[in-house]
Each structure stands twice: as structure tokens, then as C-alpha cells.
């Protein structure tokens, strides 16, 4: 198990071997070299669903070191499934460097290029970034995008994801948008989630 900087993953034949190779890579975080990250990112396009899932876990484990390579891989990849895994990894890491990409994925009137489930994951990622960040400009930017996601889109789950994320950020600035949403929300479940978030924050 020495000298494994990704070759073992690249040479894996079965999904089980690939997942095992990923676990070995991540169990030794001092090896968070570019090679390891590159190998994990390549694992995101594996055909067996267990392999991308393990690769996402691995990239999240490696944390901030993965962020720039993931963003570059998102730009370079035309494969929606791979992009979706990249967004999930970035959302879970919660590094502010991913803020503008996640904002872009959430989109404006319609999703720019991602499916509904990816937009929701990105919205949850803004919650993580906003709750981990110390920089008030970053927090403000995350809150602004989440406020939009809470008040505008037709997708109930995107509005719901925005509420959970605003609750995670838990700054005084999140209350006015939550209160405003309560006056216009028509979905019973989203209303209930709003009530809960507001009750937790007051």
C-alpha cells in the first residue's frame, strides 16, 4: 500500500477495487498531493455509482486542497453527472472559493446549466460556506443569493434548501427574508420549515 498516489485507483478493474483504492488514498491525508486529487476527480466519472460517491467523500475529506482543482474540473467537464458530483463535493466542503460557482449553479430565473437537484445541493452549500466563513462580505453574499432562492423560484425544494441554509448561517440578517417568505409561501411543507427556522433563530 505504499507508493499509491492514484495509480491503484486508475488501475482498478472492479468497482470494489476502485472504492478500496479511494479509501486508501484518503486514509493518509498527508498524501493530499495533486496526484491524489486528480485521481479522485477522475473517479467521479466512473460508471458504477459507488465509485463517484466514494470519490466525493474522499474529496470532502481532503477539504480545501480539493477546491481549486474541483472548480477547474467543473469548467473543463461537459458531463452533467460529473458536474453534479463536483457541486456536491464543493457544497459539503463549504470553502468560500466555491461561492461564485455555487451561486452560478443556483442560477437566476431558470437554472443556468444544472438540474433542479444540483441547484438545491448548491443552495445547501451556500449555507455551509456562510456558516463557516468569518468574512462578513462572504456571509452577506451567501445570504443575498439564498434570499433570492427563498423568494423567487418555483421549485419548492430549492426554497426549502434556502431556508435550511439561512438557518445554518444564523446571522441577524437572515430573519427579514425568512419573515418575508412566510407572508408569500403557499407550500404547506415549506411554510412549516420556515416556522421552524424562525423559531430556532429568535
Amino acid at each position: 500500500m505504499t507508493n499509491n498516489n492514484g495509480q491503484k485507483l486508475q488501475q482498478a478493474v472492479t468497482p470494489n477495487e476502485a472504492v478500496e483504492a479511494i479509501h486508501e488514498l484518503v486514509d493518509h491525508p498527508q498524501r493530499a498531493s495533486d496526484d491524489v486529487i486528480t485521481a479522485l476527480i477522475e473517479g467521479l466519472s466512473h460508471h458504477h455509482p459507488a465509485v463517484p460517491a466514494a470519490a466525493v467523500d474522499g474529496l470532502v475529506e481532503l477539504g480545501s486542497a480539493s477546491v481549486n482543482p474541483l472548480i477547474a474540473a467543473f469548467e473543463a467537464s461537459g458531463d452533467q453527472a460529473v458536474q453534479a458530483h463536483i457541486i456536491q463535493a464543493l457544497a459539503r466542503i463549504g470553502d468560500p472559493k466555491a461561492l461564485s460557482l455555487l451561486e452560478d449553479v443556483i442560477g437566476t430565473s431558470v437554472a443556468n446549466h444544472c438540474q433542479g437537484n444540483v441547484r438545491r445541493v448548491a443552495a445547501r452549500g451556500l449555507g455551509r460556506i456562510g456558516s463557516l466563513a468569518k468574512d462578513t462580505a462572504i456571509i452577506r453574499q451567501a445570504i443575498d443569493k439564498l434570499t433570492w432562492a427563498l423568494l423567487t423560484p418555483e421549485d419548492w425544494a430549492l426554497r426549502y434548501a434556502a431556508i435550511a441554509s439561512l438557518q445554518d448561517i444564523a446571522q441577524p440578517e437572515v430573519m427579514p427574508p425568512l419573515q418575508q417568505a412566510l407572508t408569500q409561501e403557499s407550500d404547506r411543507v415549506v411554510q412549516a420549515r420556515l416556522n421552524r427556522a424562525i423559531a430556532q433563530l429568535v
Binding site: 456536491q88 437537484n117 445541493v121 443552495a123 445547501r124 416556522n195 421552524r196
Partner: protein, 260 residues
Amino acid sequence: MTTASPPQPISSAETAIAALNGDDNQLRYYAAWWLGKNKVQDSWTVLCEALQDEAYRTQAGGYPLRRQAARALGELQNPQAVPALIAALDCPDLSLREAIIQALAAIGDRTAISPLLNLLNAEAEQPYEALIEALGTLEVWQARPQIDPFLTHPSERVQCAAARYLYLLTKEPQYIERIIKNLDHPNMYLRWAAMFDLGAIGHLAAAQAIIQAKVPNSLKLLNIKRMLEAILESDPDAESNQPDKCQFLMDTIDQLLIQL
């Protein structure tokens, strides 16, 4: 008229009703769907007329427009449509009968109960999955003796419908376990059907089963949401009366939303 792409001039209740009364069958079908989707309440009379349509028939003898009209009436949930729906049950088109049964269940009017029981007692083959589901939804508990045998019906979907009915009636875990078993079924469509059965039941054991199921995340999300909706609808103060249940379901949705 060109055939390159389907025309979609329907943009209002008036144009949809006009199209439904027109002679382009594809457009009439689309109009019926549109009226249901947009819940145009004033259209219930024209949709009831479409339940007797003869102009649009498939080679196999099916009535696509009638089926779509029945589904649209299910969306409208207007009890005034119930007599026309019941009258249309006589048609030999089984897919139409299925759509009507589902519409009657959605409307929830109790005058539908006796015609549904007649179908259950009839000799001829029926759309049993929809029929048993409807009897469960309408809480027609006197049908239990006739429904018990469907637990061993050759169709697993019918078995699950019977298990759902019996669970709603008895709250006995053995029936919910029967549905949960299908969540691991190799046939994807059976797994999905089982999910929807559980989503309609609204029980925390069912929620756990959905969370563990080998089905796409989006379906889990939809069904957990349906459960929470069912709780909130049946008890407007559920958030204070059943806080643990609500919180568990919301925590589950929170978690599902960060997965793909």
C-alpha cells in the same frame, strides 16, 4: 396545419375549452390535460361531456380522450362531476376505468363507494390496484373480506395495494412490512410503486423504509414530503401537537437536499 411540431396555441381557459370542442384529437387530448393541470374549474362540464367522446379511439378500442378527461376531473376534484364519472365506468376500456377510479378517489365523494364495490364484486377483470387503493383512500372498511385474498394476487402491485388498504384499516406492522419488502425488489417500477404506497400511508416506520430504499433521491424527497403534507393536512397544529414527527421528517428532507 403542419406536422413538424405539435402546435400549442392553448394559453387560456377559453382556448383550451374551444380546443377540447374542436376536431383535432391530439389537440383535444392536450386541452384536456391543460384544463386539469391548470385546475380550470369551469371546465368540468365539457370534461364530463368528453367522458362520452366517440371521435378519438385507438385501434385496440381504447378511448384516450376519455381517459385524459377523467384524469383532469380528478385534478379539479369537483364533486359535481361524480355522476358523470360513475356513468362512464360502464365502458370496457380498462385504462379508462382505472383513470375514473383514481379520479373518484381524488374527489373523495362517498356516492362513489357503491359503484366501486360493485366493480370489486364483479366477475370480470378490473384495474384492481387502483380499485383497492381507492377503497382504502375512501375508507371503505366493509370491503375487507373481499380484499384480504388480494394479498396473494399474482400481481405484486395489487398485493401492495391490498397491504396498504389493510394497514390503513388495522395499523398492523405486518402489512407495512409487506410493502417495505418491495422496496428491495429488483424491478425498479415495483420499488417506485411501493414508495408511493408508503408515501400515502404517512407513518414513521414507512419513512425509515423510504430513507433506506434503493431508489433515486428525488423519489425519496417527494415521498417524505408527501408524508409531512399528510400530517400537516390532517392536523393543522401538527407542528406543536406532533413536534417529534414533524422534526424528524424535516431533518430528513434537510439531509436529502444535500445529496444528489
